[in-house]
Amino acid sequence: MLTKGIRINGLKKRYGKGETAVDALKGVDMQVAPGEVVGLIGPSGSGKSTLLKCLGAVIEPTAGQMTLGDEVIYDDGWKISDLRALRRDKIGFVFQAPYLIPFLDVTDNIALLPMLAGHPNNESRQRALELLKALDVAHRARAMPSHLSGGEQQRVAIARALINRPPVILADEPTAPLDSERALAVIRILNQMARQYETAVIVVTHDEKIVPTFRRIYHIRDGRTNEEAGEGRAFE
């Protein structure tokens, strides 16, 4: 039984009503342990993005159950009233493009979340700097996002996702714009951070070059998931 991480049982999502209704998710089961990085792979239209939006509490599923750490957050209906706070405190997001706030420097991009949650600015920035050191980009702490390379931007985005020590990180195609070397570096960092912060990481990807890095992979097709063991060789 998981004490942290994320567990999903029979998650369904239906768009529309009546004859035009579309079942995007038809009962997804998934379980990711703390410190584990799993891949979520599937063709276009298979329901990857819908699943990610449900997991990220951005859209409401139609049925099923989601447990985050010890807390049931969805059981045929949201069990938490403040989804915004849930996203801020318990879910980290890494996007295909880093989507850093262009008018904030690297440190403040990362420190923004705890600042918005009401933590003192200095304390938030200190935490951001620690993460930047861990991700080996501390030397760019005062730089603006537009002055960073693609790899650096993605590391900053990972730091932002980790700043509140969330039990789960959802990464949506995080390596898509990167070359093989940088893509593997990002996955390596995600693995390191997952272990270090005991965070469950779900990586949605099409990227063939990173697929062998996962120990477990969920294939999604027609709204259902199949679990299989991955090679996980890159980080042995």
Binding site: K48, S49, T50, L52, K53, G56, V58, I59, R84, A85, L86, R87, R88, D89, F93, F95, Q96, Y99, I101, P102, F103, L104, D108, A111, L112, L113, M115, L116, A117, G118, N121, M144, R160, D172, E173
Partner: protein, 400 residues
């Protein structure tokens, strides 16, 4: 708490400053329009202040001498001088015309006053150069806004006048500078005909059997002489003795002299409420239109800036930023833009106001009200952008 709006403005300060300067010039025009109105009111009050009068005695049933024409006999002032509470009384005429100066001319209000010292009703309160009118004819005291110099010869109708004194801030209610000349000359100037017209009038009078009767010598000459003289003035300006109220002095003059008498308060109402009322409404319309245009521009700018940040807003919402934080960011930017615009507008208006041909009075109270209006307009203008931002779906940050 971090100021997202402040950081955004600092990041794109050039865009904000240039937009603010553009908005500022518009606000500057708005403040100047308010200043034009204030200047008109101040000109009207200056006209009353400078006349040195407590009461204006004018033709019955008229709003003269400024808002309507008024004509009363020039010997009426003698009777008024004998009324209780009257300290001084003096005839005055007003005639707005083009005063010739060499080849050019200047629009001015020609004021006919009885030559005398300071404190006499109708006389300019003070001079900045030269002396007062001491002779009965062909001397003038001019406001410096006319551009006339001491010793210069100016032409009013057919006569030449020497500028013997200069004064300041003596203007008509429409802002035209004043030229003071002796009363008799002004009376003549008001009704002076050209030579051909005089000859024709004399001929017509001579041909009229009523004026050219056989056996009545001197009748024709007397009739012609009466036609050539102007025994009228526009008003009598009255100063009252200390201890008397204007109403107490005005009432007997109204009753016994059968003339209209206005107190300072009443005259101010006529000038501000009637004479410049249309212009004030005109300016008011401009102010309303400018305010709407400013609001539309701020709304458009803030809306466009917000639409340019949809992805960032989606990310901010996805990572848990409250709607009120995002709304406050947009609101702060709108108000920031307004503040930049106001500062630029106030500075611009202060610089260009003295260049205007008529008096532009920029009052601190108007500036304060303008600032409040700008902030309110910016707040209202940001509503559209805030609505757009709040409609942004956080799911837009997630691809697919």
């Amino acid at each position: 708490m971090i100021s997202l709006a402040g950081r955004d403005i600092l990041h794109a300060w050039g865009k904000f400053v240039f937009t603010g300067v553009g908005l500022g010039l518009l606000i500057g025009v708005t403040l100047t329009m308010a200043g034009v109105y204030r200047g008109m009111v101040d000109d009207a009050k200056a006209l009353l202040d400078n006349s040195g009068a407590d009461l204006w005695v004018v033709q019955k049933d008229t709003l003269g001498p400024y808002a309507e024409s008024s004509s009363i006999y020039d010997d009426v002032y003698r009777g008024i001088l004998g009324m209780p509470g009257v300290e001084r009384a003096a005839n005055v005429t007003y005639l707005t015309m083009q005063v010739r100066r060499g080849e050019s001319d200047v629009r001015a209000m020609v004021v006919g006053v009885v030559p005398g010292g300071p404190g006499e009703p109708g006389q300019p309160g003070y001079l900045v150069a030269g002396r007062r009118i001491t002779r009965g004819h062909y001397e003038a005291v001019a406001d410096i806004a006319t551009g006339f110099q001491l010793g210069e010869q100016i032409q009013i109708r057919r006569n030449l006048y020497t500028v013997v004194g200069l004064t300041r801030r003596m203007v008509s209610s429409s802002g035209d500078p004043m030229v003071f000349i002796p009363l008799k000359d002004a009376q003549e100037a008001q009704f002076l005909k050209d030579n051909d017209a005089i000859v024709q009038q004399r001929r017509r009078t001579a041909e009229n059997p009523a004026f050219n009767r056989p056996g009545v010598p001197g009748l024709l000459n007397a009739a012609i002489a009466s036609q050539s003289a102007n025994p009228y003035v526009n008003a009598v300006l009255v100063q009252i003795e200390p201890g008397y109220s204007p109403d107490d002095v005005a009432e007997p003059i109204r009753r016994w002299k059968r003339l209209q008498v206005y107190t300072r308060e009443q005259m101010e109402k006529i000038l501000v409420g009637k004479l410049i009322a249309t212009s004030a409404r005109q300016i008011g319309m401009f102010l309303v239109i400018l305010a709407i245009v400013s609001a539309a521009i701020v709304a458009f700018i803030i809306y466009t800036l917000t639409l340019g940040k949809v992805r960032e807003i989606a990310v901010l919402k996805l990572i848990g930023t409250r709607n009120r934080t995002i709304a406050f960011m947009i609101l702060q930017q709108a108000v920031g833009l307004g503040v930049i615009g106001f500062v630029v507008g106030k500075i611009s208006a202060t610089f260009w106001a003295p260049i205007f041909p008529k008096y532009v009075l920029l009052e601190p109270g108007d500036a304060a009200r303008g600032f409040v209006a700008v902030v309110v307009i910016c707040v209202l203008a940001s509503v559209l952008a805030i609505r757009a931002a709040l409609k942004v779906d956080p799911a837009e940050a997630i691809g697919g």
